[in-house]
Amino acid sequence: MKAQKNRTKNEFLYFAWRNKKLRIGIFILLFFILLAIVGPYLTPYDPWAYVGPPASGPSQKFWFGTTMFGQDVFSQFVHGLRPVFLVGAFGGGLATLIGTVIGFIAGYRGGWIDEILNTLTNVVLVIPTLALLLILAAYLGVRSFFIQAVFIGCTAWPWTARAVRAQTMSLKAREFVDLARISGMRATKIILTEIAPNMLSYLVMVFILQFGGAILNAATLDFIGLGPTRGISLGLMMQIALLWGALPLGMWWWFIPPGLTIALLVGALYITNVGLDEVFNPKLRGI
């Protein structure tokens, strides 16, 4: 039994390593995580301090150039990277958690509970979340990254709930679940010990997608001026750059890095997701 488990684990790692998508995705992610961790130590400048000549392009001293006011774009960039991961992980994690719990309950319990939860899911699904986020964010005068993450988590869960519900329903019909039920196991325990482990790979993928979605959502909020009122993030950088005329002045070094990084990060997450999918589903490994 144990030997077999080890073998599947090794097999997983083997295919994981052989999967090019997974390798690329994880490499990009690790790179940016590393940058977010050590980046702030690479630059001597405070992200808001006026340290150089205004509006000058990339140079040896200022790797990403300076803003309209002579702030160092690179140090804004590396400081702005941290909240991206923070909001992504926390917001995405919360959305995954809520979605999974609702999906499990709805899928496993069925009946009127399912009916109610399903309706709730569908309603939240249809209400344009941005509009809600807009209003909620405007409601709170002072906002933080944490609050932003909570907002995103509370509105992004429906598709996850739907997907988890469907998976749970199909697993519920399997023999080992029946067996557990007959042996008198409690519902919570069945979900946690029998159903959840069988969906673990799926849940990991859901989390990755939610992670990426949260990053994009946060950037959108920041960009339209509903981001945190303190601190710096990549979305805020883009907003400030646009506000201060980086576009007509052609100060590309100001608005290219933040957007490019978000796109690369989220793209890397998606590719990782597909890679994982291929590793988990041998059929997809392809030609």
Partner: protein, 562 residues
């Protein structure tokens, strides 16, 4: 067969409608930007607060009795041929003969009387407070209007109103209800001015020259552009791009990069050297004197010495503004500044002195965190605010908080949304905030009325946001308001007294002069104003309230580039 006819007819109709194009010829059109901050919604001269978005309503479409030239500090008779003080309590205006409305009806003294009497009838009309001292406004014949007063008028306010109240046609407005007058949109306005309303869109206003304007003959003036297209750019960066490409001719937006561009000769500005811009109003840091420790003059004084105004000018405004006189008066009113007083009491950036003042007043760092505590030992935490999106001010308050932190005062900067900021401002819940709501005017009273607005009410909507309560200075401001404009010595004496209180007590801190942002390119139109040889001297400004302070004259001086 019959069906075919319809098709042919349809095509003909389509082609016919396509032929009726509407495009403004570039050589006859002046493109401007910088006045509007929102889509145009009304052309009602009585809704003053929305006029920024249709700034031409007063000055281009409707006209006041007088214009005012801040550069020479003199009134220019406009609809009026002259105005004369017959006695201390009787003012007579003689209208020009041959004035007409844009619909051809003659403009007479009856229209003037009607306009002023609207303020008597409806308290919601912005100039209704005049009727506290106005007794009557009557016409003598078609060309004479007599203003008589029941008590000493507030001369300063009265004269100011003479060039701000737009005269409206009685025959159109007399049938309107109170609601229509005070809050109607007044679409398709009929005024007396040199331009007519032509079209509008969410991001633009279009005016067309009034070829039958009375001023052509009587004043000998002829505005050069046939069309004026006034554009609202969502962000200033778009205005800059459009200006450099020559898509707009005159921009009254704040464009931080202009200093460099002016040096390189890409754009022209009124002043050929720094700060390049004329001054438009004074940016004042209001301190909430009802809150500790800002109720302590010593603390306020320390703060004034702590703020690095030069850094604000450099960083937030890229050198486009000038440091303000500590008396808050604009340069064109310099004759009312008590220079001796400024030399002895005026504050300058001096962090060492700020620290000394703090220490002397008992503000000491007790817990060793580098920040001082109040004399009673309590921690100090203050927020300095400005609305989110007011980018230059956002940078400015960042400098202010940094400056304060540098001398050990714990001030942080915050950017609430405009609505929240505004509510905090007028209800007095803010700590400290920037404000500049006294516009360029003919009298020092305007800015002192903002700084020392009184009495103190629950909602302070038009000044003294920090609720500084000092009956002595209030009395002085009232006295100034009631001083006749010809009594320059009297005005000076009162101003000096006000300035002494301002500088010793420092209930608010005047910091810099916001600029009269104006930059132009001369691809299509030349001869824009400038402070150098061979250029006309007018304020090159299209903001609301500035058309009659040089904006329209600027148009009259323009010449086609070819």
């Amino acid at each position: 067969m019959r069906g075919k006819w319809w098709v042919v007819l349809g095509i003909v109709a389509l082609l016919a409608s396509l032929a009726m194009g509407q495009e403004f010829p570039r050589a006859e059109t002046l493109y401007i930007s910088g006045a509007a901050w929102g889509p145009p919604t009304d052309w009602n001269p009585f809704i003053t607060w929305s006029k920024a978005n249709t700034s031409g309503t007063i000055g281009l479409i409707y006209e006041p009795l007088f214009f005012y030239d801040p550069l020479k500090d003199e009134l220019i008779p406009w609809l009026a041929e002259y105005g004369e003080w017959k006695s201390d309590q009787l003012f007579e205006v003689k209208l020009r003969e041959g004035l007409t409305w844009q619909d051809g009806t003659p403009l007479t003294a009856k229209d003037v009387v009607f306009t002023f009497e609207l303020g008597k009838k409806y308290p919601a009309v912005w100039y209704s407070p005049m009727w506290d001292y106005l007794d009557s406004v009557v016409n003598v014949g078609d060309y004479h209007v007599e203003f008589s007063f029941k008590r000493t008028p507030l001369y300063q306010e009265f004269v100011n109103n003479l060039y701000n109240i737009a005269i409206v046609p009685k025959h159109i407005w007399e049938t309107r209800t109170e609601e229509e007058i005070t809050s109607g949109a007044n679409e398709n306005p009929i005024g007396s001015g040199s331009y007519k309303y032509y079209a509008h869109g969410p991001d633009r206003n279009v005016y067309i020259r009034n070829e039958d304007w009375w001023g052509k003959k009587i004043l000998g003036l002829n505005p050069a552009p046939k069309y004026i297209v006034e554009i609202r750019f969502a962000t200033n960066n778009l205005a800059l791009g459009a200006l450099l490409k020559g898509e707009i001719d005159l921009s009254n937006n704040f464009l931080p990069g202009i200093a460099t561009l002016a040096q390189l000769g890409y754009v022209k500005t009124y002043l050929p050297e720094p700060p390049y811009m004329l001054s438009a109003n004074t940016a004042v840091l209001f301190l909430n004197t009802t809150k500790k420790p800002m109720d302590d003059p010593a603390f306020r004084k320390a703060l004034a010495y702590a703020i690095n105004v030069d850094a604000i000018i450099e960083r937030a405004f890229a050198g486009l503004v000038a440091k303000a006189s500590p008396t808050a008066l604009l340069p064109h009113l310099a004759k009312y500044v008590d220079e001796e007083l400024v030399a002895s009491l005026g504050f300058t950036y001096n962090p060492t002195k700020a620290k000394e003042i703090l220490a002397a007043a008992g503000y000491k760092d007790l817990d060793g965190d580098g920040l001082v505590e109040a004399p009673d030992g309590s921690k100090i935490y203050l927020e300095v605010t400005c609305p989110f999106g007011w980018t230059d001010w956002m940078e400015a308050i960042r400098v202010i908080s940094e400056s304060a932190q540098a001398v050990g005062i714990n001030v942080v900067h915050r950017y609430p949304d405009y609505g929240a900021w505004n509510t905090a401002l007028v209800t007095g819940t803010f700590d400290m905030t920037l404000n500049n709501w006294a516009s360029l005017s003919n009298t020092p009273w305007t800015v002192y009325n903002l700084l020392f607005n009184h009495p103190i009410r629950d909602i302070m909507g038009s000044g003294n946001f920090g609720r500084y309560n000092n009956p002595e200075v209030f009395a002085l401001v009232d006295e100034l308001a009631a001083t006749p404009p010809w009594d320059e010595q009297g005005m000076k004496a009162i101003c000096f007294k006000i300035q002494e209180i301002l500088l010793t007590d420092l209930p608010m801190i005047p910091l810099w002069y916001n600029g009269l942002w104006a930059q132009y390119v001369e691809f299509t139109w030349t001869n824009f104003p400038g402070a150098y040889e061979g250029r006309p001297h007018w304020l090159p400004c299209t903001w609301a309230g500035y058309w009659q302070m040089g904006g329209l004259h600027t148009l009259c001086e323009l010449k086609p580039a070819k």
